[in-house]
């Protein structure tokens, strides 16, 4: 017991500043350059878009003038008016309210999938990198196999087998997208465990679980968060794409991909049914991409825009 207390004490200085102990590319000055993100106007614009849409989604019930699924047969396909700011859809549902609630579904689904992906990817990556040997070999061969498919093919097959629904789409996405994270985290873990403080903690009797949670995890989380931001846009496109095909969120859920799909039948007479959700998805994904580019530029000088 005394040993483990000692180990925590010897290791605590680097833990307070985890960046100081990170592998080569994660030295603290790179994090100082995170300030570059704030100065980078396009990254800031991306952040502003994401924050605004997230707030709109969170307060959808306060802002939205109507229930997003309430039908009004007397006002179907109405144009923009004081009552319905963006008009109504074919069933008389208020488009503005549906877009607001749609932000909840679209952002929420992508966020939930991203959380699952990070959790699985980090777990596998650390287990493979920390324990090494046969476990590492097996997990990395699995990664190789999954990387052999474009993500949409396998995700599609998983949803196909489980049956169309939004939770199944999320399962499919998590099952396929974690591999990149596992690879990155494994590489970082391999570097972290070479540090002297890991050796000293080991000598002080620090067990595997404690070592992973106190020493390895804090070092791998920051780059993983950057990666997740970079990929959030693509994830959102993939999820709403599956919803568009009718495999994800089912009507009358106001998910943006589903809304676009619903609007298909009316796109000649009422193209706005497809325009608004399309613009909304593009805007949010653009926000993710701008912010992601900014983060990558700040953290990887080699890729910086010249």
């Amino acid at each position: 017991m005394a040993h483990s207390t000692t180990s925590a004490q010897t290791a605590s200085p680097p833990l307070r500043r985890p960046t100081a102990t990170l592998a080569e590319e994660w030295r603290p000055r790179r994090f100082a350059s995170l300030r570059g993100v704030v100065r980078d106007r396009s990254a800031l614009a991306g952040l502003a878009i994401l924050v605004t849409v997230t707030l709109l989604a969170l307060f959808a019930s306060v802002i939205a003038p109507y229930d997003p699924t309430k039908l009004d047969p007397t006002a179907n396909l109405a144009g923009p008016s004081a009552d319905h700011w963006l008009g109504t859809d074919n069933l008389g549902r208020d488009l503005f309210s549906r877009l607001l609630y749609g932000a909840r579904w679209t952002l929420g689904a992508a966020g939930l999938a991203a959380a699952g992906i990070v959790l699985l990817g980090v777990t596998v990556g650390i287990v493979a990198g920390y324990f090494g040997g046969l476990v590492d070999d097996l997990l990395m061969r699995l990664v190789d196999v999954l990387l052999a498919f474009p993500s949409i093919v396998l995700a599609l097959a998983i949803v196909g087998m489980l049956g169309p629904s939004l939770p199944n789409v999320l399962i499919g996405m998590v099952a396929v997208w974690w591999v990149d994270y596992a690879r990155v985290v494994r590489g970082l873990t391999l570097k972290v465990v070479q540090n002297d403080y890991v050796l000293s903690a080991h000598c002080c009797g620090c067990g595997s679980l404690r070592m992973i949670t106190r020493h390895v995890l804090p070092n791998v989380i920051p780059p993983v968060i950057v990666l997740a931001t970079l990929e959030l846009g693509a994830l959102m496109l993939a999820i709403s794409g599956l919803s568009f095909l009718g495999l994800g969120a089912q009507p009358p859920t106001p998910e943006w991909g589903t809304m676009l799909s619903d609007g298909r039948l009316f796109f000649l007479g009422a193209p706005q049914l497809m325009m608004y959700p399309g613009i909304a998805i593009t805007l949010v994904v653009l926000g993710c991409n701008l912010l992601g580019d900014g983060l990558r530029d700040a953290l990887d000088p080699r890729q910086r825009r010249r």
Binding site: F149, A157, F244, F267
Partner: protein, 312 residues
């Protein structure tokens, strides 16, 4: 070169076995007993427990999982991926029948992406921070942010409805392939353009470019002979990935444009719960992607002799 090819093949074999395992295990995700489902389709009524048990034994479902896998793998290797629940046709035949159609729009899309992305990327690198550079950045960002299914409908509105240039959906003439390919090409060109630009910038900073310039080499032979050729190596990896991505992305595009490719086939199969077809799709596409990777790898060897020789 021959040994290089052999080495690549030896690496691909375990990955292919992994792909077959994934495809085999996918079938277990489907709800319900396969024997019961098969009987139900055949008899048109709920089968009794005894009937199901007989068929389970016939289908080998009572064997241990490794045995079932080996049996399935043996069938797969001899070209038997089962029969479609929906059409009663052999799965492999349907997939092989539809695949060339998908290759058409993916190949056409890739050509369009190259035609858009590589010149723009090079110009953006050469005239860095100029109007072309900024323009290409905006195009690339938009291209990466717009959902393909939305782009597809924007194209229909513009090119079919407004201008009347192209037919909306179907596959009778070559004009029908233009919009699906354009949709895939627009999505694919975004990342390709940015990568061409950054790789080109990297190459232009190299010493040999400065040497060539100092020797008085004109800018056209310098760009095409020295800079572009060295830029092609990282680009060819991404081209391979883009092509694979387009084959995957074809799922959505084919559904929109009623293009009778493999993507539309599998989406229809999903709605009909045609599990053998979905399973066949996975192993078929997995194999196709491995072959694409192999071709890209071999392409490196052709473009860059250093790679071919280093791996001896």
């Amino acid at each position: 070169m021959f040994r290089f090819v052999l080495r690549r093949l030896a690496y691909l074999l375990p990955v292919w076995i992994g792909i077959s395992l994934v495809a085999f295990m996918l079938a277990n995700l489907a709800p319900g007993d396969p024997a019961r489902l098969a009987l139900q389709r055949e008899l048109g009524r709920q089968p009794t427990a005894e009937e199901t048990a007989v068929v389970r034994e016939q289908m080998g479902l009572n064997d241990a999982a490794p045995i079932r896998y080996l049996n399935w793998l043996g069938d797969a290797l001899t070209g038997d991926l089962g029969t479609s629940y929906r059409t009663g046709q052999p799965v492999l035949d349907s997939l092989a029948d539809r695949f060339p159609t998908t290759l058409q729009i993916a190949g056409f899309g890739l050509l369009l992406a190259i035609a858009i992305a590589i010149p723009l990327g090079i110009l953006a690198a050469v005239y860095r921070q100029g109007p072309i550079d900024h323009f290409s950045r905006v195009i690339a960002l938009l291209g990466a942010s717009m959902p393909s299914y939305w782009v597809a409908y924007l194209l229909i509105l513009l090119l079919s409805v407004r201008l009347g240039w192209l037919p909306v959906a179907g596959s009778q003439t070559w004009q029908h392939a233009v919009m699906p390919a354009l949709t895939l090409g627009i999505g694919g060109s975004a990342s390709l353009m940015r990568l061409t630009r950054s790789e080109m910038l990297e190459t232009l900073n190299q010493d040999y470019i400065r040497t060539a310039r100092a020797k008085g080499l004109g800018s056209r032979p310098l760009m095409l002979g020295h800079a572009l050729r060295n830029t092609m190596i990282p680009l060819s990896t991404v081209l391979g990935m883009r092509f694979a991505g387009m084959l995957g992305g074809a799922v959505i595009v084919e559904t929109i444009f009623s293009w009778p490719g493999i993507g539309k086939l599998v989406v229809d199969a999903i709605f009909d719960r045609d599990y053998p077809m979905i399973q066949g799709f996975v192993i078929f596409m997995g194999t196709a992607f491995l072959l694409i990777n192999l071709i890209v790898d071999l392409g490196y060897g052709v473009i860059d002799p250093r790679i071919r020789l280093a791996r001896r």
